[in-house]
């Protein structure tokens, strides 16, 4: 079994007071709680912090933990021979399982006491939430994802193990950012006839080099040259379902949104979002002599004033 240093996880001394432990937990919970945190590894960190606090906040569990001795985190160890006799007399077998998690020892402390009257508690399995990042292409056509979950599970002797579960889930097309999928009964196993927990998949869309998603609508920057915008043209535009030709009308202004109906992401109950091509007018940073001469000629000929709407205050000041 791997040792975990619960005191180090909470960042407190081994002799810390109950109050100091509570304060340290609160500080870390505010920082890492997945419902309020923006930290990248918030969920993992919070699990560690919560596990440490569960044991250290309870004086009896803390005493039992302290008697395991001091080891370095991650080091393989076995509880001392008399440890189990003192803390878990109801447990018949000695702990030998390699994959037994340290937190299981303290779960037992509680479970052992609860089960003393021979009463079998019916408990629903735990629900799990998993973040599932998908690409826009995957959201468009649906995809299969591999899930590897480490779930705490009780064995026939009522001991808690972390059991790896691997399965594939079919993500139907139509998923978008912030949506959730439920996989009924795939969470933790229920105990003594309790229902199995559910698994919730939280979908997020991965950044894409040129699409931006808003719900089921997609936005795409469409760069046009000045002459394309003035004269109008027909351009090839990528969409998740394949390229389409888009007619750009003459006199198209920058920031105008050209809508391609039904070219966005599919919706779960049918229908499809739209794709908006947002016009950007771009100019070459380097021009050759002939191009420069033509621009100059255009400048001389054109009476177009892009700033005609500015109030002409300058004329008074001069």
């Amino acid at each position: 079994m791997k040792y975990k240093d619960y005191y180090a996880t909470l960042g407190v001394e081994r002799g810390a007071s109950e109050d100091a432990i509570k304060k340290a937990y609160r500080r870390l919970a505010h920082k890492y709680h997945p419902d309020v945190s923006k930290e990248a590894d918030a969920e993992e960190r919070f699990k560690e912090v919560a596990e440490a606090y569960q044991t250290l906040k309870d004086p009896e569990k803390r005493a039992a933990y302290d008697q395991l001795g001091t080891h370095s985190a991650g080091q393989d160890f076995q509880p001392p021979p008399d440890w189990q006799r003192q803390w878990q007399p109801s447990q018949e077998e000695a702990f030998s399982a390699e994959d037994l998690d340290l937190s299981a020892l303290f779960e037992h402390l509680r479970a052992g006491r609860g089960a003393r009257g021979g009463e079998r508690m019916v408990m629903a399995g735990q629900d799990y939430e998993v973040a599932v990042p998908v690409s826009i292409e995957q959201a468009y056509s649906g995809t299969q994802i591999d899930l590897d979950l480490n779930m705490p599970e009780y064995d026939a002797q009522g001991r808690l193990h972390r059991t790896p579960h691997a399965f594939k889930a079919r993500i139907p097309k139509g998923a978008t950012d912030g949506q959730r999928l439920r996989v009924p009964g795939k969470g933790g196993k229920g105990i003594n006839g309790g229902r199995n927990g559910d698994l919730y998949l939280n979908i997020s869309l991965l950044p894409h080099p040129y699409y931006r998603a808003n719900g089921h609508d997609l936005y795409l920057d469409l760069p046009l040259s000045a002459w394309e915008a003035v004269l109008g043209t027909s351009v090839e535009v990528p969409t998740p379902g394949g390229s389409v030709r888009l007619k750009v009308p003459p006199g198209t202004q920058a920031a105008r949104q050209l809508r391609l109906p039904g070219r966005g992401l599919p919706k779960p109950k049918g229908g499809q979002g739209d794709l908006y091509a947002v016009v950007q007018i771009v100019v070459p940073s380097v021009v050759n002599d002939r191009e420069r001469a033509l621009y100059q000629q255009l400048s001389d000929v054109s009476a177009y004033d892009p700033r005609a709407h500015f109030v002409r205050e300058g004329s008074h000041a001069n």
């Binding site: 709680h33 889930a169 949506q179 919730y200 931006r212 936005y219």
Partner: protein
């Protein structure tokens, strides 16, 4: 290791009663009723006499359970936290929508 293929269902398609909601999120029904009357968990609009709850409510109720346990919050602290989290989510959604319209950015 056994690998199985599982079909998932849209979370949005469920509606549950208060009792089922209480079971699914492991919060007492009385507390849920308080959260509903406080407006931080909203039932679906329906003509049925008994309120039905959808995905939003289940998600909020599960968040409530976590916050209550992990921060040891009382009911009024819980309502405040849920209300603020809702506002943050709304703002994030709006920000995402605005960013999508903004030329020259590629984050979704």
């Amino acid at each position: 290791m056994r690998i199985e293929l599982t079909d998932v269902m849209w979370f949005e398609e469920h509606s549950v009663s208060l009792r089922e909601l209480s079971e699914l999120c492991a919060l007492p029904a009385a507390l849920l009723e308080e959260l509903v009357s406080g407006g931080v968990i909203l039932p679906l609009e329906s003509v049925a006499t008994e309120p039905r709850f959808g995905a939003q409510a289940l998600s909020a109720a599960r968040t409530a359970r976590r916050l209550r346990e992990d921060f040891e919050l009382d009911t009024s602290g819980l309502m405040l936290a849920l209300g603020l989290i809702d506002r943050v989510r709304d703002l994030e959604r709006e920000l995402r929508a605005l960013r999508a319209r903004l030329p020259g950015t590629t984050s979704p």
